[in-house]
């Protein structure tokens, strides 16, 4: 649902001179299928073994009891992500300015809570206004 919501704002994001990338631990065969299914026009990047999620400090290890539940319903992170340890990123959305500095950060321990795309657009608008003032 979040990916579709990001797709809906993507043309406006591009008009603001910005881009979107999605990082996931999933292997390329799964990102390719998802990208096609949702008709996305921004990239899904495979963050293999969560190396970048770890640098953003979003990494956590699923507790054993949840791992058992996921496995029992066919959700095999060891296969989807090559993650035998069942680690995942917390959902997070960042806006990074062209100097590489984080200008917005929305991170949630509850995966059912996501930031609104409209908030992300507002951050990008503010960045653009600021860039114009400097120029």
């Amino acid at each position: 649902m979040e990916l579709e919501a990001l797709q809906r704002i993507y043309s406006e994001v591009k008009d603001l001179g910005a881009q979107i990338v999605v990082l996931t631990p999933e292997l390329e065969r799964y990102t390719r299928a998802l990208h096609e299914k949702l008709n996305l026009t921004f990239d899904i990047l495979t963050d293999l073994h969560l190396k970048i999620a770890e640098q953003f400090r979003l990494l956590y290890v699923l507790p054993d009891y949840l791992r058992e539940l996921y496995t029992s319903v066919g959700n095999a992170l060891d296969r989807f992500d090559d993650e035998p340890e069942f680690r995942l990123p917390m959902p997070g959305r960042y806006v990074i300015d062209k100097h590489g500095i984080i200008r917005a950060a929305a991170v949630s321990a509850d995966y059912t809570i996501r930031p609104e795309p409209s908030d992300t657009l507002n951050v990008l608008r503010a960045l653009k206004t600021k860039a114009r003032q400097v120029a």
Partner: protein
Amino acid sequence: MADLQSRLDEFKKAFESGAPPYNATQEAIETMHRATAELEASGLANKALRVGDRAPQFRLFNQDHVEVDSADLLRQGPVVVSFFRGHW
């Protein structure tokens, strides 16, 4: 179009009702709630990178096996980076 969070909330309600197509058991729902509560209590989310921090650079493969360099993206302007658990 309703906002993202209200659509997520609707989905959660449907899922946690235990009705088809998800047929989630009460036990499974409680297990998921427990995991979320524990992760929240751990305070881990507060330790993630925040506004003002320098973002880590990355070079990763996209869905078409093309390598994408964050430095190339940033040369063109701001970048929204969204972390996603998976398609499941």
